[in-house]
């Protein structure tokens, strides 16, 4: 099987023109993401992680370079339902039930009515929220809301899942649990996942590929292929292999800073 990149970025540049002058959010960013990869983006805040993810999703226009998703432009890929996007906050609509929120993309994309209950049922099961479909978002905990927002992104069978610090606002214990569930979900669905985080253990635990970024201008300083197996119990985090990868990420982050000074 020859691997062809699902997402391919070449020499991406993005400059925001602001009142205080231009901001180089991305500079010379090149990266290939293969099908089934779990790629984490890690770096200090302001290094362009969100911007990069938004460029891939076609929410932001690069000012230079090329990006292709499934061989299409990001806009075309978006219209062909190539990806689901999970934001830092769950962003569920409070006037819709959990089911109603998951139905939202299905309604917009014109799925058949008869098809919807089955899809909703399936993704609720994937994120372990069976029986909560009739609840309103504000009746659930933060962790459950975030899981519901992941279910919403999964409902229309996109091959790519883009997640921008989805667990950033949750406490450590909930986050551990959700990380475990996310890995199980990834194994089950074989999706390609782009995942922004600023937690080193989270990045190492989840990823097959870790992209280390640094700010001003936002760029990639290191890409680490993880030697860890795909099957990962939580206590893998105490093994020497895990600690070694974590060490390399930390070094990469530090190097980025030294460059900065």
């Amino acid at each position: 099987m020859t691997k062809k990149p699902v997402i391919s970025a070449r020499d991406l540049d993005l400059t925001f023109e602001t009142n205080d002058g231009p901001i180089h959010a991305l500079k010379g960013v090149s990266l290939d993401i293969e099908k089934g990869d779990f790629v984490s983006f890690i770096g200090p805040s302001g290094c362009g992680k969100t911007t990069f993810l938004r460029v891939i999703a076609g929410l932001e226009q690069a000012t230079g370079g090329d990006v292709s998703v499934n061989g299409m432009t990001p806009e075309e890929a978006r219209k062909s339902r190539a990806y689901g996007y999970v934001f830092q906050a769950a962003g569920l609509y409070p006037w819709r039930t959990i089911e109603g929120n998951i139905r939202l993309p299905l309604e917009i994309m014109g799925f058949a009515r008869a098809d919807m209950p089955r899809r909703i049922e399936r993704v609720l099961k994937l994120v372990d929220l069976e029986g909560f479909g009739r609840k309103y978002p504000w009746q659930l905990s933060g962790g459950m809301q975030q899981r519901a927002s992941i279910a919403r992104a999964l409902a229309f069978d996109a091959d790519i899942l883009l997640m921008d610090e989805p667990f950033g606002a949750l406490d450590e214990i909930v986050r551990d649990h959700l990380n475990e569930q996310l890995l199980a979900l990834w194994a089950k669905t074989e999706k390609t996942i782009g995942f922004v985080t600023h937690s080193i253990p989270e990045a190492v635990y989840l990823s097959t590929k870790i992209v280390v970024m640094s700010p001003r201008p936002g760029r990639i300083t290191d890409v680490i292929e993880s030697p860890l197996p795909r099957e990962r119990p939580l206590d893998i985090r105490d093994t020497p292999e895990f600690l070694e990868v974590a060490h390399r990420v930390r070094e990469g982050l530090r190097a980025g800073h030294a460059y900065d000074d």
Partner: protein, 260 residues
């Protein structure tokens, strides 16, 4: 059980207070021998209401139903529709919004006679006055509501490649509902005032405003107070109705959730 008694208290307090005020009013009027032309006692007002139920009913239908409520519904729909149009077309924002602002600043005493000239003495001219009064608060509140979504919610719609209409109906209008109902509550109060005052500038021989102005001339003060009582009750009921619908529609909003 606890909820029931809480609801009972919410009604009992203002009701008890209102009755206390009425009793005090009655006692004062009798004690100080205040002439009915200055301030009639509540019992006299009650007697006037009982005596003239038929006239009060005819006046109420003419002013409250035909003038105020028709105007309120038309003005509210027009305000929301204009807000949606202004929100969509930038040229309208720059052109129509200042004009709407200008119209809102027109005094009712100037607008009412003109509407009577345009639409005749009957309720149509009163409804037109109400439309003008109600339009602007509805417009402004709906515009604020349509702007009330955050960037992430709109980005989400964009990741689905949602159309303008889909974003409007599935995100921005539902999110605007609390604002629209705020406008509607303001509009409800204005509508009744507008319909009554507009009758001072020409009306057929019925209507609450007509009755108040003619009875004042005939020193039928008890009848004036009877009309005032009917209008106050109508205003309160209309407001309560809007608040009730609001609770059903915006049940999800934090301000409504606590009361569930």
């Amino acid at each position: 059980m606890k909820q029931l008694s809480a609801r009972f208290e919410r009604i009992a307090w203002p009701l008890g207070f209102g009755i206390a005020v009425l009793i005090l009013w009655q006692v004062m009027v009798r004690a100080f021998n205040i002439p009915p032309a200055i301030l009639p006692a509540p019992t006299e007002i009650g007697a006037a209401i009982a005596r003239s139920t038929h006239i009060l009913w005819i006046d109420w239908v003419q002013t409250a139903v035909k003038g105020a409520i028709t105007g309120l519904i038309m003005g509210a729909i027009a305000g929301v529709a204009a807000a949606i149009a202004i929100d969509r077309v930038d040229f309208l924002r720059r052109g129509l919004l200042p004009v709407a602002n200008f119209v809102a600043a027109l005094p009712i005493v100037g607008v009412a006679p003109i509407m009577v000239m345009w639409f005749g003495f009957d309720w149509h001219s009163k409804a037109a006055v109400v439309v003008i009064m109600v339009f602007f608060p509805m417009l402004v509140n709906t515009l604020a509501g349509l702007a009330a979504t955050d960037r992430m919610q709109r980005d989400l719609m964009q990741t689905y490649s949602a159309s303008h209409l889909q974003t409007l109906t599935k995100l921005r209008l539902p999110a605007a509902m609390p604002f629209i109902f705020n406008g509607l509550k303001i509009a409800t109060t204005l509508a009744l005032i507008g319909a009554i005052v507009a009758e001072y500038f020409g009306s057929p021989t019925r209507g609450m405003g007509f009755r108040i102005s003619t009875e004042v001339g005939r020193l039928g003060i008890d009848m004036v107070w009877a009309e005032i009582a009917v209008s106050a009750l109508t205003g309160t009921a209309l407001y309560a109705l809007v608040a009730l619908i609001e609770r059903g529609v915006t049940f999800w909003h934090p301000s409504q959730r606590r009361r569930r």
